[in-house]
């Protein structure tokens, strides 16, 4: 790619300007360091010493680059500028700190050179000096940001791997605990004296499965957020999915006096990803049952035979959500009014991410005191965004 700044910089040579830059190096370094001490608290003594050592070299390179219209000295200047940016990243400078450095260098250098010349700078000279500073600044910033981006991606990758390993090991360990609880239950089953112990064991078992359920939701949300989930499209057996989700929440709904119903058009098997559709429905039905205290939770699949697209609709007669809270609900770890229910605030974020992967859109229609309807609008054919 053609470097615009580079080509402007190389259009002509500025031998007189170069000589002036060289002559002012000690003065510029001292002025710059004074300014830095004053305005950039992050610049400690070590940094200032480094500057005393490295800035004369940079300015010397700038002088050589100005002196000639050959490309090599300019390239050398650019390379060292990259090193400067990386050094600042290692020194924990922010990007703004890095830019402030150059904002201060610019006037110091231009004033010093103008005063050394004992005349006004020509427009071309003024431009060349500015471009020189820009070149150094730009290269430093690009190197700083590239390296920082790379570090962030590595950190995120490490974090994902850490979660995966952690989850795997915890699951293995808990599996052994569950097996042994089941075994113990079996041993105690025939003796009526152990009836209370059996209840305790069952409660331990439920608690473990519940904890794992929370962990799974958290990891699912992380996988979706990190873009680690690729949809696998095929025919979705919606009746099966609905029946499974119905079975999953039936007991919890019944315990609260809520009626759970589901409706699917006969033999309707749209094209989508069964695992993700199931995840969407689980989260919506889970929320509806969790926050309702009465009435009916209705899960429906609605097909538009003319257009071929379809909807998943989950409605409840729960407390409803005030309009100003609706958009917030899609953010991970944020919740609306909790109505005394515990949770991570991941449900709708999972629904939103999973829907996007399937080219579907989520909308919420809610009235406080009347209930909430969530509609996920699926395309006839999946168009992943």
């Amino acid at each position: 790619m053609k470097d615009v700044i580079l080509s402007v910089f190389q259009a002509r040579a500025y031998p007189e300007l170069a000589a002036m830059v060289r002559a002012t190096i000690p003065h510029v370094v001292e002025r710059w360091i004074l300014l830095l001490k004053d305005r950039l608290p992050v610049a400690d003594e070590l940094t200032l010493t480094q500057l005393r050592n490295s800035l004369p070299k940079t300015l010397g390179q700038l002088a050589v680059a100005l002196e000639t219209d050959r490309a090599a000295p300019t390239r050398e200047l650019m390379q060292d500028s990259e090193e400067h940016g990386l050094e600042r990243l290692r020194n924990n400078y922010t990007l703004v700190d890095l830019l402030v450095e150059f904002d201060m260098l610019r006037p110091v250098l231009i004033e010093a050179v103008a005063s050394e010349l004992k005349r006004d700078l020509e427009l071309a000279e003024f431009t060349a000096l500015n471009i020189g500073v820009d070149l150094v600044a730009r290269r430093s910033v690009v190197a700083y940001v590239s390296k920082q981006t790379q570090q962030l991606m590595q950190a995120s990758h490490m974090q994902s791997r850490f979660f995966a390993f952690l989850s795997h090991d915890i699951r293995g360990g808990l599996n052994a605990v569950l097996m042994n609880i089941d075994l113990l239950k079996l041993d105690l089953l025939d003796d009526p004296r152990f009836a209370p112990a059996l209840e305790d064991l069952e409660s331990m078992r439920r608690s473990i499965l519940n904890t794992v359920g929370i962990m799974t939701r958290y990891l699912e949300a992380e996988r979706l957020r990190a873009g680690a989930v690729q949809p696998r499209f095929g025919r979705v057996d919606l009746s099966r999915v609905m029946a499974d989700v119905d079975g999953q929440f039936r007991a919890a709904a019944a315990a609260k006096g809520i009626v759970l119903v589901h409706e699917v058009p006969l033999k309707f098997q749209p094209e989508s990803d069964q695992e993700l559709v199931s995840m969407i429905l689980q989260n919506l039905a889970g929320n509806a049952v969790k926050y309702s205290t009465r009435g009916t939770v209705r899960m429906r699949a609605v097909q538009d035979p003319a257009r071929g697209d379809w909807q998943l609709v989950v409605s409840d007669q729960g407390p409803g959500i005030p309009p100003e809270k609706v958009s917030m609900l899609f953010e991970a770890y944020r919740r609306g009014d909790t109505h005394g229910q515990s949770g991570l605030g991941l449900g709708l974020s999972i629904v939103d991410h999973a829907s996007k992967l399937l080219g579907a859109k989520v909308s919420i229609d809610s009235k406080v005191g009347e209930g909430t309807t969530v509609i996920v609008q699926f395309p006839a054919r999946p168009v992943p965004s």
Binding site: A164, S167, R171, L174, L183, L186
Partner: protein, 130 residues
């Protein structure tokens, strides 16, 4: 009654699951790595009906060993148990292969063991070697 080979390196998980399977009347052979599993298969008088296979194992991974098993004993049904999220390409292990994400509810696994696999159902029992 099913003849089950249980390949699991975690001792507590293995012994617990084996005991639960035995309590249901199944015959269980416990092995803790692919090498042991292979040695047992080679010397067993009858092929197992079911192999319950943990995926993450020291040495050869469970899913890799299962591919070999499927090739040599295509009628043995494979049930994977793992702490990993899913197993891509489970179809390679036959239409009745199953996957359980640890920790699983034991009843679900026992149901899967008791299921008559499509292939197992068709199989005529091989005569026992005496």
């Amino acid at each position: 009654m099913k003849r089950v080979v249980l390949l699991e390196d975690n001792r507590e998980s293995r012994m617990g699951l084996a005991a639960l399977l035995r309590s249901e009347g199944h015959e269980v052979v416990e092995v803790k790595n692919a090498l042991e599993a292979q040695a047992w298969i080679a010397s067993a008088p009858l092929p197992p009906d079911i192999a319950i296979v943990d995926i993450d194992l020291p040495g050869l991974r469970g899913d890799q060993w299962a591919l070999y098993l499927k090739e040599t004993l295509p009628e043995t049904r494979i049930i994977f148990v793992s702490g990993h999220h899913g197993l891509a390409g489970i179809d390679r292990y036959g239409p009745d292969a199953r996957y359980f994400h640890k920790p699983f509810a034991i009843d679900d696994l026992l149901d899967a063991v008791n299921e008559e696999g499509a292939e197992t159902a068709r199989r005529t029992p091989a005569p026992a070697l005496v």
